[in-house]
Each structure stands twice: as structure tokens, then as C-alpha cells.
């Protein structure tokens, strides 16, 4: 599988104490990676390093191109943790916000094809009805969906999302993760997602990355349950509750993998805890 993100020996520090060190991993085309870890563990910093928003030590390549030379930003969609205008009233409509996701060019008027792409993205995130509304006047959840439309409007091959579901209600969250799942499965979009919502997202993701100052674990869900490194870091109970107990519907998201885990770890109470 071709590499989408390759990181080697990353190190980053805001002060003298490193936030991240000895970080190496290789995300491949079609991966759906759930990044988990404690608060302050460096998850958001890691995404910022990948996007070039922070500069650290080590090597990062995007689509086999070193980050410094990478120009094909339309291949990447990004949704940050915080809404960009939480305090001030920026006079811009939801449609104009989504338009920002397309490559910038000179002039101010969007072309017909650009508007078509914008409306399609808004349709997919069910935000078309807010197209003319001032972004600031939308609820936080609606803003987040508009920002997701902005992230996917350029039909990216890689989506980088930092806790995107925090402000969403249950219905929107389900729609949100179903859309991500569809993008990953049908369109082979590689997804890198920081989340604490491990139950909902567990249905779709293919790999876990556990980050706490460094990458403690990176592998499939099945490997996660058997990882000694994770068990050592989290303890065996938490290692499995990340995937199992957080499922709000009471169904195990792992299917076969779950049965295996339950077999290995009967203290968890079986596959449908």
C-alpha cells in the first residue's frame, strides 16, 4: 500500500520539556486511524506537525513528498478542534466558509464549478439549508458540520480531524461518523482522527494509535487488544474498555475481535458488556 503519512523520529517541545519524542509511524492509503491518548499527551501537536502548523525535529512525508516540498494541499482536508470564530462575529456565510476549502486563487467571485462542489459538500453534511446563514449565527454543532463540509469539499485523499464530534448531538454524531466511514470505505479516503468517542468511531476505524508523549501503540484494533505495551500503559481493563464499554448501544463494535478478546480476557464479561 502506498504511504500517505510517514513520520520518522519526530520530536517537538514548546519549552525544554518535549511534548513528543521518538515518534515514528507510517499511515497507508485507506487506513482509518483513531488517535487516542490522555489529555496533554501530544495528539493535537502531532497533527499540527503533520500539517506543518508547528515545526519540530525529524522527518515527515505526505504522499511520499517531504513536508517542506509538499504543495498538493487540496489532497488534504483538515478539521480543527476549535471553531475559528468562537468569539467574534466574522461577516461570512456558511457557503463562503466551505468555499475556503477549495484551492485559493486570485479574484473574489467563485466559479460555477466551485459553487457546485461547495453545494455537493454541504449536501453531504446536511448543511445546504444554512448556505446563506452567517457562520457565527449557527450553533456550534452546525458550525462543526459546515467545517466538515469545508474539509471534504476538495475531495481530499487524506482527512485529518481533531476531536470533531465534541460539539455534536447524538444524531449528528452518528451521521458524522457514518459519513467518514463511507468516505473511507467507498472513496478510500485515508482518515486520521483524534477522538475520545471511541465507542461510536470503533465501528469504522481500522487502526488505533495510542499517543502519550510518544507513539505507545500503532496497529489494528485486534493488535491493540493484545498489545503488551498498551496493557503496560493502560492496564488490561482500560485497554479493552476503550473499544468495548464505551459503545453506547451495548453492542460490541469489534465483532470477531471482541469474541477473541472476551476469550482472552473473561473478566470483561463477554462480547456484549
Amino acid at each position: 500500500m502506498p504511504s500517505v503519512i510517514k513520520a520518522e523520529n519526530l520530536r517537538f517541545a514548546y519549552t525544554r520539556v518535549p511534548v513528543l519524542e521518538q515518534v515514528s509511524f507510517d499511515v497507508q492509503m485507506g487506513d482509518y486511524v483513531g488517535i487516542i491518548g490522555p489529555n496533554g499527551g501530544g495528539k493535537t501537536t502531532l497533527l499540527k506537525l503533520i500539517l506543518g502548523l508547528e515545526k519540530g525535529e525529524g522527518q515527515i512525508s505526505l504522499f511520499d513528498t517531504p513536508l517542506a516540498q509538499f504543495k498538493a494541499w487540496q489532497k488534504i482536508g483538515y478539521l480543527a478542534q476549535k471553531s475559528p470564530v468562537s468569539q467574534s462575529r466574522f461577516p461570512i456565510s456558511a457557503e463562503e466558509v466551505v468555499l475556503m476549502g477549495l484551492p485559493n486563487r486570485c479574484g473574489s467571485r467563485p466559479s460555477v464549478s466551485e459553487l457546485k462542489q461547495v453545494h455537493e459538500a454541504m449536501q453531504r453534511t446536511r448543511t445546504r439549508e444554512y448556505a446563506g446563514t452567517i457562520f457565527h449565527d449557527l450553533s456550534i454543532g452546525q458550525q462543526q458540520r459546515v467545517l466538515l463540509a469545508r474539509a471534504i469539499v476538495s475531495n481530499p485523499q487524506l482527512l485529518i480531524l481533531d476531536e470533531p464530534s465534541t460539539a455534536l448531538d447524538a444524531q449528528s454524531r452518528e451521521m458524522f461518523f457514518d459519513l467518514l466511514g463511507e468516505l473511507n470505505k467507498k472513496h478510500h479516503v485515508t482518515i486520521l482522527l483524534i477522538t475520545h468517542d471511541t465507542g461510536e468511531v470503533g465501528k469504522h476505524i481500522s487502526k488505533f494509535m495510542y499517543v502519550d508523549k510518544t507513539v505507545i501503540f500503532f496497529g489494528t484494533k485486534k493488535e491493540f487488544c493484545h498489545s503488551e505495551a498498551v496493557a503496560k500503559h493502560l492496564g488490561p481493563f482500560a485497554q479493552h474498555t476503550i473499544d468495548h464499554l464505551h459503545n453506547h448501544h451495548g453492542h460490541c463494535p469489534l465483532g470477531e475481535a471482541c469474541e477473541e478478546c472476551a476469550h482472552d480476557h473473561p473478566h470483561l464479561g463477554g462480547p456484549h458488556v
Binding site: 499540527k48 500539517l51 506543518g52 502548523l53 504543495k71 494541499w73 487540496q74 488534504i76 483538515y78 480543527a80 475559528p84 470564530v85 467574534s88 462575529r89 466574522f90 461577516p91 461570512i92 456565510s93 463562503e96 466558509v97 468555499l99 475556503m100 476549502g101 477549495l102 484551492p103 485559493n104 486563487r105 486570485c106 479574484g107 473574489s108 452567517i134 469545508r150
Partner: protein, 271 residues
């Protein structure tokens, strides 16, 4: 009532004042939304250093101040980016440095004189022809940048990290914005005086933001308010024989009050 318009120095002042006010209003929209509006205040204090150096060396205060204010602006940017100092603190540091160096040089030059007071409080009627041309060039540059890079500017202003991931050179956009503002600030000190420059950058955009629904409306209203402030301010200063700089800013404050009232009484932002 409008016989003062027959004087050529008044006409020149009006034209130059309008160019500068519109340029400041357009730049101010981005500075206000980026929460950098006080950078004009910091730059204006640095103007005092430029004026003092010019008075000491008998050179043109405008031409002497442009490079000095640009260097100071670069200093503000460097302090915020490189040393991670908050923007307002960086502006405060550079502003204090500009003011103290200016006062020191003024004292070395033999204290305050009428020339300096003219720069402190504005002397729009002493604007020269070459300065008027400079004001016109400034406005043309601002408008050209706005038309050419509108989407880059709005994107970098709305969400800089995301704009970076679209390939927008956010750093270059910010530097360009601040450097053009440096020139606008220097040209504006003839119009309203060093003490009131920042008002030209802040008040018309804030009033426009109160009554506009779209970004383009903000730009149009801010420009209109800036120009109206200059015209009405100069007329009032003639009729009531008061300083033009103060009159211009008082008019802009009245416009702001009107915009606020309108927005509260059922304007677009009424909630």
C-alpha cells in the same frame, strides 16, 4: 457654506484625507478581525521617532517615518512569532520604545515646536502635492491587493491554520498587511495626527461590522464611513474653527454610535 472648498489647499487636504481614510478603513477591517487593530496605535507612537529624527535632520517627516515604522512593525511581528509574546504586549513594548525614543530625540532637538505639534494633532491643510500623490498610490496598492488576493486575505483572516493547509502563505499575507498599514499610518498622521491615527483604522471598520451581513458590505461601508468622516470633519473644523483631526474622529464616533443604534433597533445584527 462650502466656499472653503474653493481653496486649493483645502481641496488637496480633502482628496488626500479621503484616500488615506479609505485605505485605513479597508486595512482596518482585516486588522480588527485579526485582533491586530491596536497595531496602528503602536505604529503611530513610533511615528513620533520618525518625526523627531526628521526635525533633527531637517528632512521630510513622512519619508523619514516610513522606514522607521516599517522596521518597528517587523519588530512587533517578530516579537509575537519568534518570542511567542502576546500581540498586545508586543505592540505595547514597541509603542513605548517608539514614544520614548521620539521624546528623547525631541528633547535633544530643543523641545517641542509648532512643527511637532502639527504632527501630533494633525494638519491636513498642509498636505503637499507629492504627499497627495503618495496617498493616491497607497489607496491604489490597497485596492489592487484587495481585488487580487481577496480570497487569500479573507481565508487567512478567518482561520489562519486552515488557510495554511490550503497553501495560503499566511505569514506573507500578515507581513504584507502590516507593512502596507505602516505606510498608511505614516500618511495618516498628517490627516488626523499621531494621537488619533489608530481611530481611522478601528472606528469605521467596527461601525461597518455592526451593520453588514457580508464581508464585501463591510469593506464598502467601512470605506464610506472613513470618507464621510474626513469630509464632514473638515467642514465642521472650518465652520466651528476646531482642529480638523479631532473633528474627523468625532464624526466617525457619531457614525459608530449611529451604526450601533441601527443594529440594535432592527439592523442585521439585532438579536
Amino acid at each position: 457654506m462650502f466656499e472653503f472648498l474653493s481653496y486649493s489647499f483645502v481641496q488637496r487636504g480633502l482628496v488626500a484625507g479621503t484616500f488615506v481614510a479609505v485605505a485605513c478603513a479597508l486595512l482596518g477591517v482585516f486588522l480588527v478581525l485579526k485582533r491586530l487593530s491596536l497595531i496602528g496605535d503602536g505604529m503611530s507612537h513610533v511615528c513620533l521617532t520618525g518625526v523627531a529624527v526628521a526635525l533633527l535632520t531637517s528632512t521630510s517627516p513622512v519619508y523619514m517615518s516610513v522606514p522607521i515604522v516599517m522596521v518597528a512593525s517587523a519588530g512587533i511581528m517578530k516579537l509575537t512569532q519568534k518570542f511567542k509574546i502576546y500581540g498586545d504586549a508586543a505592540i505595547g513594548i514597541v509603542s513605548a520604545a517608539g514614544l520614548s525614543i521620539g521624546l528623547l530625540l525631541t528633547s535633544l532637538a530643543g523641545g517641542f515646536n509648532t512643527d511637532l505639534l502639527g504632527y501630533l494633532f494633525g494638519s491636513i491643510l498642509t498636505v503637499s502635492f507629492s504627499e497627495t500623490v503618495l496617498c493616491a498610490i497607497l489607496l491604489m496598492v490597497v485596492l489592487a491587493c484587495l481585488f487580487a488576493f481577496y480570497r487569500y486575505l479573507v481565508s487567512a483572516c478567518f482561520d489562519a491554520p486552515f488557510a495554511h493547509t490550503r497553501g495560503v502563505p499566511v505569514q506573507t499575507v500578515n507581513t504584507g498587511l502590516v507593512m502596507i498599514t505602516s505606510v498608511a499610518v505614516v500618511l495618516a498622521f498628517k490627516v488626523v495626527g499621531i494621537f488619533l491615527i489608530s481611530a481611522l483604522l478601528i472606528i469605521p471598520p467596527v461601525a461597518a461590522l455592526l451593520i453588514s451581513r457580508t464581508f464585501k458590505q463591510v469593506l464598502v461601508w467601512a470605506s464610506a464611513f472613513g470618507a464621510l468622516s474626513v469630509w464632514a470633519g473638515i467642514w465642521i473644523s472650518f465652520v466651528f474653527n476646531i482642529p480638523s483631526g479631532a473633528a474627523i474622529i468625532l464624526v466617525s464616533l457619531i457614525i459608530l454610535l449611529g451604526a450601533y443604534t441601527w443594529s440594535k433597533l432592527g439592523g442585521v445584527n439585532a438579536r
